[in-house]
């Protein structure tokens, strides 16, 4: 009898229109647990190196974890993974909402999709039954409509649906996948991968509940969160404001990305901050079993356009990437831009940063109105942003070039414009300036799936004794504050390992320490209570470490080297405005820290490749045999 997991992985071949069910051993679940680890395992074993990510040869994986679907807060997430169309390496993106738990209830722990359907299809997985169904009538439909239509067509109001929008159908390189119209597997272009397979959506439902080893232990954790989340300011702030509360503080700190990361302060910040946006909130969109409910719905009153509130409110990343980073302070336009992005299924970070790149090129004369279909890319008229998003989604005119991301666009433009492209490995940076956060900078350079602000806890958590004493980092062996960049490598390694564990388990970074309120003790209690595994934080950190190494070896096999672990040119030039004016990454310090990082990870500092002994200690030395075949 297994607790927490079904013991079944669904493998579908869209070309052959066939499927099979794999039943991995209990040891597999004990060792890998879910999410990132499942994905890297199968991509290593079953994807041959060198494929085009947008070809039928790519493999698309949806992976829950041994925890998903249990009635406990902050564990609703699931991972989508494939070879990334953005980086060409290991790609992953997680989402909340309700799809992951429902996949579990449908009888499967993960879905692995190969090949390409001859015509648009969707998958319907219901209580162990699997159907590949025609999606011709769904192709072209906006994201929210797909769920509505499928509920009707399948006569099943309980289905949860992951879907792509027009962005994915047109294979916009950074198109995303959404469930419940606003929970996005946002980064790395999996919407494009789905589109390239002619796969519009996956609907899941089921009546089985997750088997719990110790119901009482699970209940205890849920009860504790329910009793405290409204009083603890970390969770209460998310409950009331969501992440937009960050704008004012980041502005004051001088680290609010402005004008394509040229400055850290934006004169219009108070028009787009948490207190201003909150006035437009009309509801909350909680993820499965989580009372914190950080996602919100908005309503606006604007004669220029209307916004469908089903698509949710912009969160911090979107506020900054369509706002300060584009010099736009028209909040309603940002809200509308968020709606369009979700309706068409496009990553707001990659799209925003690509547009910011084009804007800087336009301002510098590297692009003219002739190139941009007559659109003024200064966005002195903010509504022009909405025109651009329509063009990107439909790959129309200049939108077709923007749809490729800022690195590919820079390479087309030439003229050293690559220096203005704020990306690592071909994936755009999120809205956290590496010059202001050295740990994040290290994380950006080495993150297995490209620069990811949620792959590594940020510097601020280590900066004061108060913070350390209250966010659990003392129990990860950080006893005193760290502010000197030269001392931050340990924090980068341990923090990244912890959040890798969270990506394996589908744990929400907002709910668990250090960024959330639930302690590591409670996390261990939950894992034991759900699965019955005899585990603790040491073992769980090893699970996280194993997953990083699996993904790293995938990238090694695809030809990535230490030359790819770097920062964009912008990181070595100074922040031009705000409290941190003048701040920049010291090249020598960074290079030394990177070397130290490899050492601490048990990787060869000259090649960045994990030592055989590291893989052996993690029971994954089978990778070496695989690669050497």
């Amino acid at each position: 009898m297994s607790y927490g997991y079904n013991g079944k992985i669904l493998k579908i071949n869209l070309t052959k229109k066939k499927y099979e069910i794999e039943t991995p051993s209990d040891l597999f679940y004990r060792r890998y647990m879910g999410g990132r680890a499942f994905a890297a395992y199968y991509l290593l074993k079953e994807l041959r190196p060198g494929v085009d990510p947008l070809s039928p040869d790519n493999i698309l994986i949806f992976a829950s974890s041994v925890l998903t679907g249990a009635p406990a807060p902050g564990i609703p997430r699931f991972t989508v993974a494939a070879k990334s169309p953005m980086t060409g390496g290991f790609g992953e993106s997680e989402a909340g909402g309700s799809w992951g738990p429902q996949l579990k209830r449908s009888g499967f722990d993960a879905v692995i999709i190969k090949g390409k359907a001859a015509k648009p299809v969707y998958l319907y997985i219901n209580d162990g039954e699997v159907k590949i169904k025609d999606a011709g009538h769904l192709w072209g439909q906006p994201v929210a409509m797909v769920e509505t239509l499928l509920k009707e067509e399948l006569n099943n109001p309980k289905i949860k649906v992951v879907t792509i929008g027009i962005g994915g159908e047109k294979q916009v390189r950074y198109a995303c996948i959404l469930n419940e119209a606003s929970s996005a597997n946002g980064r790395n272009g999996f919407g494009a991968v789905m589109g390239s397979k002619n796969l519009k959506a996956i609907a899941v439902s089921g009546t089985s509940s997750v088997n719990l080893f110790d119901k009482e232990a699970v209940k205890e954790v849920s009860k504790w969160v329910a009793s405290i989340y409204r009083d603890n300011p970390i969770s209460a702030s998310l409950n009331e404001y969501g992440t937009p509360a960050a704008i004012a503080g980041l502005q004051a700190s001088g680290m609010l990305p402005t004008d394509n990361f040229s400055s850290g302060a934006f004169s219009g910040y108070d028009k787009i901050d948490g207190d201003t946006l909150k006035k437009k909130y009309v509801g909350k969109k909680p993820c499965y079993a989580c009372p914190i409910a950080c996602k919100k719905q908005v309503r606006i009153d604007d004669e220029r356009f209307s916004v469908d509130s089903v698509y949710g409110s912009p969160e911090y990343e979107t506020l900054a990437s369509f706002g300060s980073n584009l010099g736009i302070s028209d909040l309603n336009v940002i809200i509308k831009a968020n709606e369009l992005s979700n309706k068409y299924g496009i990553d707001t970070i990659s799209m925003g940063v690509t547009i910011a790149f084009a804007r800087e090129c336009f301002i510098n004369g590297l692009l003219s109105k002739e190139d941009t279909d007559g659109i003024d890319f200064t966005f002195v008229k903010p509504t022009d942003l909405l025109k651009v998003i329509e063009k990107v989604a439909h790959r129309d005119g200049f939108g077709n070039l923007l749809a490729e991301g800022c690195l590919r666009l820079a390479r087309k433009l030439g003229n050293n414009s690559e220096d203005l492209a704020v990306q690592v490995k071909g994936l755009e940076l999120p809205m956290h300036d590496p010059r202001a956060k050295f740990i994040v900078a290290l994380g950006y350079a080495v993150a297995v799936a490209g620069p990811d602000h949620m792959s590594i806890p940020h510097d601020v958590f280590y900066e004061t004794q108060e913070n350390i004493n209250n966010n659990g980092l003392d129990s990860l062996s950080f006893y005193e504050p760290i502010t000197d960049p030269a001392k931050k490598v340990k924090a980068a390694v341990y923090g990244q390992t912890l959040w890798s564990l969270y990506n394996v388990l589908g744990v929400c970074d907002f709910a668990y320490q250090p960024r959330g309120i639930i302690s590591f003790d409670k996390l261990v209690k939950l894992v034991k209570g759900i699965t019955g595994f005899n585990t603790n934080m040491f073992d769980l950190m090893e699970v996280g470490r194993r997953a990083i190494n699996l993904a790293r070896m995938f990238n090694v096999r695809e030809g990535f080297t230490i030359k790819d672990d770097k920062l964009p040119a912008m990181a070595y030039g100074p922040i031009k405005g705000g409290r941190l004016k003048g701040a920049k990454i010291d090249k020598k310090q960074f290079a030394e820290s990177l070397q130290e990082y490899y050492q601490l990870m048990g990787w060869n500092p000259e090649t960045g490749v994990p030592h055989a002994s590291t893989l052996k200690a993690l029971d994954i030395e089978w990778i070496l045999e695989l690669i050497n075949k």
Binding site: P233, I234, Y241, L250, A252, D273, Y316, E317, H453, T464
Partner: protein, 78 residues
């Protein structure tokens, strides 16, 4: 007694008297930032940035009459 003005945003506005984002506090001379936080009812670990008269400060910073204090929530990703 000394008077210090305190400005704050978002969730910190729930603190004693700060609903419009700004408040004035009467404190004993020799008060430090940590005393203000205790007075307001801030929870340890929730503050991410302290600015005193335009400069970055910390919990131990000494306050004087007429000082302007700004407090911001901790934010590390999202």
């Amino acid at each position: 007694m000394i008077t210090v003005s305190v400005k704050m945003a978002a969730y910190l506005r729930r603190l004693k008297g700060c609903s419009v984002g700004k408040t004035e506090l009467e404190l004993f001379p020799g008060s430090r930032v940590k005393d203000v936080l205790k007075d307001l009812g801030a929870i340890p670990g929730e503050i991410g940035l302290i600015i005193l008269n335009v400069r970055a400060a910390d919990l131990q910073s000494l306050l004087n009459d007429g000082d302007n204090l700004e407090l911001y929530q901790i934010f590390g990703g999202g």
